[in-house]
């Protein structure tokens, strides 16, 4: 049908891209995000919202399974692409768009539930391993039965097993947080990084002259993700743009004014302060971590010698899992965004559980 053709072509000029970043592929993720920003293509927030599934980096077995499940959840028309080499981002996106524009497949799913759809497992967007819970009670749909547990008011209420990540907006690459939810309060948590250490961290061999720029870009990236989780799209977009400028070769001194304006705006916001106040996140609270990041960002563009963190350590996933227990979901997202664990550095299979 002609109208359908026309709509597809119109839509293909601005597809929603679901970016699945893999641990160790930060460089590819940044290149993709920069290109998406340049084109004005929005990032999808969930598989249901996506036209293009873009996998940045080489997926290991666990993540390949997750990517497969996410792919099954995506509505047609859909395209799946992989970006492993930073250079071919633009071409890959172009070809994805042209595939969408000339999408012809019939849509059998309109008639009845196709086999694919049956595999969708609800909300986790991947990483759903419910096995072991539920006490062997078989539920229709193969879903696990919720457990009972005491809530923070002392009522025995249902607990739901949910895996957060690894495909969530503004979420550390490859991180999975398996939580027990009661309402939206996390009662137990377990953190894990899927397929760690595959991309190989490229952080070690950055030349010294690049340090300030990369430090600033890294802080801007973290800030953008934090603001994204906090639901403040405007400064988050600005932080992303500055980050892209830096990575595209701008001198830190050249963007200094803009960075200072951004940090000042974030610091000034009484609303943000009110929202992040009193959320503990391990050894430092969320508000303190945000202040640290802003200060480090200012220092980096001011040309101050970046504080050497010493040999980069892998993030403490056990501490992260501990930090989100007792938080409601929105606060937990802020905690993860404030801690911002660098999953590139996780070397081998690590998991941590906290009750």
């Amino acid at each position: 049908m002609d109208l359908r053709r026309l709509l597809l072509r119109l839509a293909a000029a601005r597809p929603h891209v679901l970016l699945v970043a893999l641990p160790g592929a930060t460089e590819a993720r940044l290149a993709v995000e920069a290109e998406l920003g340049r084109r004005g293509w929005p990032a999808a927030v969930s598989p249901a919202d996506a036209d293009v599934l873009l996998v940045a980096g080489p997926a290991g077995p666990a993540l390949a399974a997750v990517v497969g499940r996410v792919w099954e959840q995506m509505p047609e028309p859909r395209v799946r692409v992989v970006v492993e080499v930073v250079a071919d981002v633009s071409g890959t996106l172009d070809s994805a768009a042209s595939q969408l524009a000339s999408w012809t497949a019939a849509r059998p799913e309109y008639g009845g539930p196709g086999p694919r759809e049956q595999e969708h497992r609800g909300p986790e967007h991947g990483g759903d391993e419910h096995g072991g819970h539920g006490g062997g009670m078989e539920m229709p749909g193969g879903l696990p039965m919720a457990d009972l547990g005491e809530d923070r008011d002392g009522l025995m209420l249902d607990r739901l097993h949910v895996a957060l990540g690894p495909v969530l907006p503004d979420w550390p690459a490859g991180l999975v947080l398996r939580v027990e939810l009661q309402g939206d309060v996390i009662q137990e948590a377990e953190a894990e990084v899927l397929d760690p250490g595959r991309g190989g961290s490229s952080r070690g061999d950055v030349p010294a002259a690049e340090d300030a720029r990369h430090a600033a870009a890294r802080h801007l990236d973290g800030l953008a993700r934090f603001l994204g989780v906090a639901g403040w799209a405007d400064p988050a977009a600005r932080a992303r743009r500055l980050r892209d400028d830096l990575l595209a070769g701008a001198e830190p001194a050249a963007v200094r004014g803009q960075v200072h304006a951004l940090t000042a705006r974030v610091r000034r916001s009484r609303t943000l302060r009110w929202l992040v106040r009193g959320i503990p996140a391990g050894e430092r609270a969320v508000a303190a971590r945000l202040a640290d990041r802003l200060a480090a960002l200012d220092a980096a563009v001011d040309g101050a010698p970046p504080a050497q963190p010493g040999p980069s350590r892998p993030p403490d996933l056990a501490a992260l899992a501990r930090a989100v227990v007792g938080a409601e979901l929105a606060a937990a997202r802020l905690v993860v965004a404030a801690v911002d664990p660098d999953t590139d550095l996780v070397a081998e299979e690590r998991g941590a559980r906290h009750a």
Partner: protein
């Protein structure tokens, strides 16, 4: 008008019956809501626009809150497992049918008086005047009852008192609550 009456009346009764027939708790709540909305439509049909709209407003709020509580307290709220939680089903049915028969007989056999007077032009105004005038006592009673309900329900539903929140000597400056959001 008559068509509208029949549609709304049938929706009200069928939705009401569905409340005890559907499997899913959430659907049960919204079936009840549909019954209320149909009755609200009937009330509007009778010229009580304000009350009809108020019923819509209140019942939507009430049913959504009800849905939340139901999901909280009931097993498998999504209706994954068929739900059958009856006791004394046949007895109840007999009583209900008997009641309906008696009521229907009364309705059909009574020699209803003829209509007297005409509705005031502005029913909303008339109702307001009545509640603030002749029926003031009703209004005051409702107000006091509602206030008592607020206090009573809070006392019943929470397990924590002020000694839990402010310490044994009530000298804590900020209340010790599991979550913020309370007036402390």
């Amino acid at each position: 008008m008559t068509v509208l009456f029949w549609i709304l009346a049938v929706v009200a009764v069928v939705a009401g019956f569905a409340v005890f027939r559907l499997n899913s708790m959430a659907q049960v709540t919204f079936a009840l809501l549909a019954s209320f909305l149909a009755v609200a439509g009937l009330v509007m049909l009778l010229g009580l626009g304000y009350l009809g709209v108020v019923i819509v407003l209140m019942m939507v709020i009430e049913m959504v809150i009800m849905a939340v509580f139901m999901v909280m307290y009931m097993m498998n709220p999504a209706g994954l497992m068929p739900m059958a939680m009856y006791h004394n089903k046949s007895g109840s049915m007999a009583i209900a049918v008997g009641t309906f028969a008696v009521l229907a007989a009364g309705i059909l056999l009574t020699d209803w008086p003829t209509r007297r007077g005409a509705p005031a032009p502005d029913q909303t105004f008339a109702l307001g005047e009545a509640l603030m005038g002749g029926q003031m006592l009703t209004m005051m009673t409702l107000g006091v009852t509602l206030f008592a309900t607020i206090v009573g329900t809070v006392v019943l539903a929470t397990a924590r008192g002020r000694y839990d929140r402010f310490g044994d000597d009530l000298d804590r400056r900020r209340a010790d609550d599991p979550a913020g959001g309370g007036p402390g």
